[in-house]
């Protein structure tokens, strides 16, 4: 059973459908009698909802139904709290989850006020214009510090203030560390909000079959099983009466998680009420304020260092924007809090965050999920410390890396999965060495940069380390079945949004069952195929679902060998699984095809040994004890145009360690794509709000995604430190590219400008860089 496919660059099996336009996306679902929905949304960020008059909309020809909050009756309920607060001593958490349609108050621009269902989307949108809304505007809560001040407008009146949560985690004794420090670096850092901006907007199609009493929902979700379970509860149906299908999904990046968005909750309800299928497809402008977003945090952080650069401790106090509601709990700020520690030995740590309600759209994880902020703060502090101590920036990092024998390393605080933050494995200095060699650090700093600077060019280098907590529980499952045709079917509960699961899971099965991956058919994201699991998030698909797939395949192999041994009259250890059949070692003519064996495993007549399970099929689950710690180094060289303040990336090197690599092509694709998003976060993407809470750049004309002209080819290196926490040794990679890019970018820009400015905020547009350069010159 030597791995043949594990680690191979198998071209993706799902590509053909996608390339020829035959893949089913949610908006491709077309059902007889289908109606179309549109939502009326609030133009106000904060206000008292005095009335929503839908009489004219109801009277419009082609309109089938119009509902406001008042029409929903008992079905109007705030959404579920998706992630409860972790058991941190002294934690404060005020839950306020989103509502299906606003009632009494509106709390962010884009909050839905009414649902129109009509014979076509065009007619539904016409009817939106017929609705008259009366909102008495209130001051919008936008600034995180002002929101907490006495007298501020309050987003949730019943809470009496805008505090969503507060939690402090500590280890060691920060005060003592600070007292004996050679230097203390203290700064304020700001990381602003952006959009996930998957190219496919969200969508939901629901159909109720009154005869079979079954509800089918096609949903652009990363987590179909929790959505099924939740919808069944809300609609008073059994879980087996609800089928949620996450077909091909055009990018997830976080916001398509099990959100129970208003649309997700209302479209199935509407389909049941009307007895006709209903489709809702989000448009891009809606996506800018009705889909969740991330990233505004303000950190006041201090780093205490010894004279030789050794980290003595870190203190951090930060504000985190949760928007108008906080259904996703504290995942983001806890990720920030934990990820800040990075690959370093930090003996003393005192971190407290305060989460604030504002009149902006809801915050939930977006690729990185708070980890960016932690990396940005720590790496910037180290850069500033190195400058103050007159040390090399690589040297100060090397001095503080946890050594390879430090594992498992317990940071003595809790991670987002409520488990202790314990790193499983890593070779951090080695990753740094590789990056230093790849970017040719010494030569650049000593030879190239001085030469280019002498020629008037502003070139700079950035090099940073990071940890990405990945592969968290609780669990995933998979079922592997050999069909009579000889095809192997793999069903798993996770949804897939382009990560290549159809291929990587097939590779895992192929090795175990001795067949070509093209003979393995993977089904994801259909609750009728597999009904247990949580979803695709936190870089956990390959780790958690991957190990479940692998284990299920191993169990099927055992069944194959047991039955084949009986059929071929041979000992199990004398059997060989190869090319879709089993034969006796040294006697290739004594063989049976797996498909034929599957038929024999399901006898129609005769007896079986009591306890025999039919079929060549097995189901397995995997739940890790805790998450993994993937790690890496990003290094880049930039050139700043002093006239336009454009920053051009000349080289970008990533060294990453995600443990065992199932398919290097897929992993490199994830990293390259993640870096593109990281570059966007660092330099192009920022949601801009007016003081009255209006989003002022809700289109791709004004909100700039990186294009092919902005993203360089990333030069990639791997180190492989398998995780001891799962049989495959995998760690996960989905978010790695996006996490450290801003920190590396900031260091490189500073370096290019020879210390003339300090970059303490992200993103850094050309405009903002110009301002900083003006300030620096003043």
């Amino acid at each position: 059973m030597s791995p043949r496919w594990l680690g191979e660059r198998v071209p993706r099996l799902e590509d053909t459908k996608l390339l020829t336009g035959r893949a089913l996306f949610t908006d491709d679902v077309d059902l007889p009698g289908m109606l179309h929905a549109a939502f009326l949304r609030s133009d106000e960020a904060h206000g008292v909802l005095r009335g929503v008059d839908v009489a004219a909309a109801r009277a419009r020809p082609g309109v089938v139904a119009v509902w406001t909050a008042a029409d929903l009756g008992d079905y109007w309920k705030p959404g579920p709290l998706l992630v409860p607060p972790p058991p941190i001593a002294g934690i404060v958490f005020n839950a306020a989850t989103q509502v299906p349609l606003a009632r009494e108050k509106v709390r962010h621009v884009g909050e839905p006020l009414a649902l129109v269902v009509a014979e076509s989307r065009y007619l539904a949108e016409d009817a939106l214009d017929d609705i008259v809304v009366d909102i008495e505007p209130l001051p919008a809560v936008m600034d995180l510090e002002a929101a907490l001040a006495p007298g501020a407008a309050v987003v949730h009146d019943e809470l009496g203030g805008n505090l969503a949560a507060r939690a402090r985690q500590t280890k060691g004794d920060w005060a003592a560390a600070r007292a004996r420090a050679h230097a203390v670096i203290a700064r304020r850092f700001r990381y602003d909000r952006g959009a996930a901006a998957a190219i496919e907007n969200r969508g939901v199609v629901a159909a109720w079959d009154a005869r079979s009493e079954e509800l089918t929902v096609w949903d652009t979700t990363q987590a179909p099983i929790p959505i099924r379970n939740g919808l069944a509860g809300m609609l008073g149906l059994g879980q087996s009466q609800v089928r949620v299908v996450a077909p091909f999904i055009g990018g997830g990046f976080g916001p398509k998680i099990m959100m129970f968005y208003p649309e997700e909750v209302l479209i199935p309800w509407a389909a049941m009420r009307l007895g006709r299928p209903v489709k809702w497809i989000e448009d891009r402008r809606e996506n800018f304020y009705a889909t969740t977003q991330e990233r505004l945090q303000i950190h006041d952080a201090e780093l205490a260092v010894a004279k030789d650069g050794t980290i003595l401790g870190v203190r951090d106090r930060f504000l985190s924007d949760t928007g108008a509601y906080d259904p996703y709990g504290l995942t983001i700020p806890i990720n920030s809090q934990c990820t800040l520690l990075g690959p370093y030995a930090v003996p003393n740590y005192d971190s407290e965050f305060t989460v604030v309600f504002t009149n902006r759209p809801i915050v939930t994880p977006v690729r990185g999920a708070g980890r960016q902020h932690g990396v940005f703060v720590m790496e910037r502090l180290l850069d500033l410390a190195a400058r103050e101590l007159g040390m090399d920036r690589v040297e100060i990092r090397r001095r503080n890396f946890l050594p390879p024998d430090a594992f498992p390393h317990d940071h003595q605080i809790l991670f987002q999965d409520f488990r202790p933050l314990v790193y499983d494995s890593g070779r951090y200095a080695e990753a740094m060495d590789q990056a230093v060699a790849a970017i040719d650090y010494e030569r650049f700093v000593r030879v190239e940069q001085p030469k280019l600077r002498a020629a008037g060019r502003r070139v700079g280098l950035g090099i940073v380390s990071y940890i990405e907590g990945t592969g968290i529980g609780p669990y995933e499952g998979a079922r592997v079945t050999i069909e009579p045709s000889g095809t192997v079917r793999v069903a798993t509960g996770v949804g897939t949004q382009g990560q290549g699961h159809f291929t990587t899971f097939a590779q895992l099965v192929s090795d175990v069952l001795g067949m070509d991956p093209s003979k393995v058919q993977v089904i994801t994201g259909d609750t009728r195929e597999f009904g247990w699991g949580t979803g695709t998030f936190a870089s956990r698909g390959a780790v958690v679902a991957g190990n479940a797939v692998h284990e299920a395949a191993i169990r099927v192999r055992k069944k194959v060998l047991a039955l084949a041994g009986a059929v071929l009259d041979a000992k199990e250890d004398a059997l060989v699984l190869e090319c879709g059949s089993v034969h006796v070692k040294g006697a290739p003519e004594r063989a049976i095809r797996l498909g034929d064996l599957a038929v024999k495993a399901n006898p129609l007549r005769g007896g079986v040994t009591p306890g025999t399970e039919p079929g060549l099929e097995a189901t397995a689950y995997f739940g890790p004890d805790r998450g993994n710690a993937a790690n890496g180094v990003h290094a880049l060289i930039v050139e700043v145009d002093a006239e336009t303040c454009e920053v051009r990336i000349l080289r970008y090197v990533v060294v990453h360690d995600c443990g065992t690599v199932i398919n290097p092509t897929v992993v490199e694709g994830q990293v390259q794509g993640g870096v593109a998003m990281g570059i966007g976060n660092a330099f192009y993407e920022q949601l801009v709000w007016g003081e009255n809470g209006q989003l002022m750049n809700a289109s791709f004309m004004d909100y700039l995604l990186p294009t092919a002209l902005d993203v360089p080819a990333v030069e990639m290196r791997h180190t492989v430190t398998p995780s001891p926490l799962n049989p495959l040794g995998a760690k996960g990679v989905g978010e790695a590219g996006a996490i450290p890019a801003a920190a590396a970018f900031a260091q490189a820009v500073e370096d290019a400008l020879q210390g003339g400015i300090e970059v303490l905020e992200m993103p850094l547009s050309p405009n903002r860089l110009f301002e900083l350069m003006q300030d620096g010159a003043a």
């Binding site: 071209p11 993706r12 799902e14 590509d15 053909t16 459908k17 996608l18 390339l19 020829t20 336009g21 035959r22 893949a23 089913l24 996306f25 908006d27 491709d28 077309d30 020809p61 082609g62 989307r121 065009y122 007619l123 998957a198 190219i199 496919e200 907007n201 091909f248 999904i249 055009g250 990018g251 997830g252 990046f253 448009d283 891009r284 949004q497 382009g498 290549g500 092509t665 897929v666 490199e668 694709g669 994830q670 390259q672 794509g673 993640g674 870096v675 593109a676 998003m677 289109s699 791709f700 004309m701 995604l705 294009t707 092919a708 002209l709 993203v711 360089p712 080819a713 990333v714 590219g737």
Partner: protein, 168 residues
Amino acid sequence: MTVQQGLAVSLTVNGSKVERTAEPRLLLSDFLRHELGLGGTHVGCEHGVCGACTVLLDGEAVRSCLLFAVQADGHAVETVEGLAANGDLHPLQAAFHETHALQCGFCTPGFLMTLVPFLREHPSPSETAIREALSGNLCRCTGYKNIVDAVALAARRLASDAPAAARA
């Protein structure tokens, strides 16, 4: 706005004659997707920036979300569904597959339809030219590198196939 009268539209789609009626305000993208069932043309922004809905109109790449169906009257439209002739992938499609130039695949049809006329007009493009050609299409998954590689690979293949095709 009131319900509008349908107008007769007659066009060629992927080589087949199509005759329908369409409201004047019906977008070409919606017409292709929902009237003709050609779901491969994707809609990502409805304002002409992302490029996912790109199709060919008389051989030129256009944004189908910026055109009305009635504007295609009398013209020839080609969509991604028409690209793989006789079930064989077009060299661009094959190159995308081999270089892992797609992840979620939602933007992919728009990239392909942008690139067909580009490669016709620029049979051996430089990397810079390729990147410029791609810059009107947004991809959120791949970071573009593999798409650039795919275009270069397809260009090489098309160039080496061209003499054979000419002989045939």
